[in-house]
């Protein structure tokens, strides 16, 4: 059995209500995390996916020793978080949502600062800084203050600083939020290389594409609870899958098609029929042949295969409907 880089059981966290804790009812404040369990094997990428305010950043803050949890048992990098926070700190690296570089210092000085704080020797620190500047394509800007860097450069410097101490477990809290597509792809490439080197990555993101691209396992977080967990494929299978959307020239053809197919959701206004389908060539051909045989013309057709967006919207939507009646 592989070792777990993160093992958390019943993680809970609530913040005091702004109106004062005492009168705020049974909960005693705003519950941010409502008992979540996490198991992240070493050497894998685990992605925590959720909308803004779901509790992603709070989870990272707890696991990276920034904020204490209210309840639950947590082991990070083999150390008990509550008992030995300093041992956890020695094994992890964190690159947060907000740039954690010293903007008045140059890129090189930032890296040397990290080397000093990781207690590397002067020579080792210099070697490491030079290597990281090269690897993250920052060598040309090494002697310029970080304040002059572009968003993508600052994010790369940020991650480079995290890597100075060779952490075995790295937390990336929305590492590509606000980056342009090219910088995002560069970041993904770096993350893949890290995992190839045996590092464990705990990634939070609100981009489904990012989780789909990178993560071995994905957990969906919504309102402080994990509402689904698995590989991208497993999650996609969770929801009623793809469909074919047919558009007809008039209501009578729509009606005929509906009776022919015996299934599907019609939209009389838009003159469309949504038919469940796995989207395979075989299924599409069969569908079109059937309609053709009965001389039912169609105006337009689109095939929709399920992606993480569907999973996400379906699962979070279900939760939201229970709570929010308006909208």
């Amino acid at each position: 059995m592989t070792n777990l880089a993160i093992a958390a059981n019943g993680l809970r966290k609530s913040y005091p209500d702004k109106n004062g804790d005492k009168n705020s009812g049974k909960s005693g404040g705003k519950v941010v995390l409502d008992g979540i369990d996490l198991a992240v094997p070493e050497g894998t990428i685990f992605s925590l996916l959720g909308p803004n305010g779901a509790g992603k950043t709070t989870t990272v803050q707890i696991l990276s020793t920034l904020t204490p949890a209210d309840g639950g048992t947590i082991q990070v990098a083999g150390h008990d978080l509550a008992q030995k926070p300093d041992d956890v700190r020695g094994a992890i690296g964190v690159t947060g949502q907000y740039s954690a570089v010293d903007k008045l210092l140059t890129g090189e000085e930032n890296l040397l600062l990290m080397a000093d704080l990781r207690h590397l020797s002067r020579r080792e620190g210099k070697r490491k800084a030079a290597e990281l500047l090269e690897r993250f394509d920052l060598a040309d800007a090494a002697r310029k203050p970080a304040a002059t860097y572009s968003g993508g450069m600052q994010r790369r410097l940020d991650l480079a600083m995290t890597l100075v101490g060779d952490p075995r477990l790295i937390f990336l809290d929305e590492p590509t939020t606000g980056l342009d597509p090219r910088s995002r792809r560069t970041m993904w490439q770096i993350v893949r290389e890290l995992v190839a080197g045996g590092v464990t990555i705990f990634l939070t993101t609100q981009y489904l594409e990012e989780a789909d691209e990178l993560a071995d396992r994905i957990a969906l977080l919504d309102h402080g609870r994990l509402i689904a967990e698995g590989t991208a494929e497993e999650l996609k299978r969770l929801i009623p899958g793809g469909h074919v959307l047919l558009k007809f020239p008039d209501p009578s053809r729509l009606d005929t098609a509906r009776h022919l197919l015996g299934a599907g959701t019609p939209d009389p206004e838009a003159l469309t029929l949504q038919v469940p389908s796995d989207g395979s060539v075989h299924a599409i051909r069969e569908l079109l042949t059937l309609l053709d045989d009965h001389s039912v013309d169609i105006d337009d057709m689109s095939i929709h295969t399920p992606d993480l967006d569907d999973v996400f919207l379906t699962l979070t939507g279900r939760q939201n409907q229970q709570k929010e009646t308006t909208r």
Partner: protein
């Protein structure tokens, strides 16, 4: 390496970081020196003639008017320089706390106090250099102390102690401030304390209530001691009271700052 060595090493790293930051942001340091120098020049050349005449025999050392007044006012100006610099420190700390790098430090296995120690040591170095510049300018425009080397050393020691105390206070205020803007206001009253003490005029000339405050507030015994050491005016028990104030303010502010930083 032991915990203590590691803490010292981390603190040294943080001091280097902070000194580099101060060098990159020289306008702040320059401004902190210019403010007390302007006040010095204003008081010596505009008010000095009249104020000097009112000092009385005990304080004028046989000099008259402006010449007597510059000797009298310099200790107050030095404390004002330190208080002005404290404003800068509070702003620096508050700004630093809004940066993501502090969160990064918190997730690293380093001595937590080293972040604050870095601020304090760098600020103390900055302020002592600033005070040296102010003394230099004062000497150039007619400040004539009659202190021995030992008295200079004692005055420098007390000023250093005062700067350490006021810097820890500034760090605590900076940590408590929600924004850098708020941090620039918090230490403001400190800048006025030399006025509400024996910094610019002897306390005897003040109305009773004000005089009572002026004589018992911490800046007065410090200014009296520095004045005594540099110019030979009577010190009395001011030295002991001044030292106690400085040590007390430093200790309370240190604990306050450390506690605030650990909680945040």
């Amino acid at each position: 390496m032991s915990t203590v060595t590691l803490a010292a090493r981390d603190s040294a790293t943080m001091v280097r970081r902070q000194l580099k930051r101060l060098l990159r942001y020289p306008s702040m340091t320059v401004q902190l020196v210019i403010t007390p120098v302007i006040i010095l020049i204003l008081f010596v050349y505009v008010f000095g003639g009249t104020l000097g005449a009112g000092l009385g025999d005990g304080l004028s050392n046989g000099l008259g008017g402006r010449d007597a007044y510059i000797n009298y006012v310099v200790p107050g100006i030095l404390l004002m320089a330190a208080a002005t610099a404290a404003t800068g420190t509070a702003v620096m700390v508050a700004t630093d706390m809004t940066e993501g790098i502090i969160a990064r430090f918190r997730t690293m296995r380093i001595s937590r106090a080293s972040v604050l120690t870095g601020h304090v040591v760098a600020s103390v170095i900055q302020q002592l250099l600033g005070i040296a510049v102010v003394i230099g300018i004062a000497l150039a425009i007619g400040f004539r102390p009659n202190a021995t080397a030992l008295e200079w050393l004692a005055a420098a020691g007390l000023l250093t102690l005062f700067v350490v105390a006021i810097t820890w206070l500034a760090v605590a205020l900076g940590l408590k401030s929600p924004t850098p803007e708020a941090a620039s206001n918090a230490p403001m009253p400190l800048v006025f304390l030399p006025f509400l003490g024996s910094g610019f005029v002897p306390t005897d000339s003040m109305p009773t209530a004000l005089r009572w405050f002026a004589e018992y507030q911490p800046f007065t015994p410090i200014m009296e001691t520095v004045r005594g050491l540099l110019l030979g005016t009577p010190i009395g028990n001011s030295a002991a009271i001044a030292t106690a104030w400085c040590v007390g303010i430093a200790a309370v502010s240190y604990l306050w700052a450390k506690n605030t930083f650990n909680k945040a």
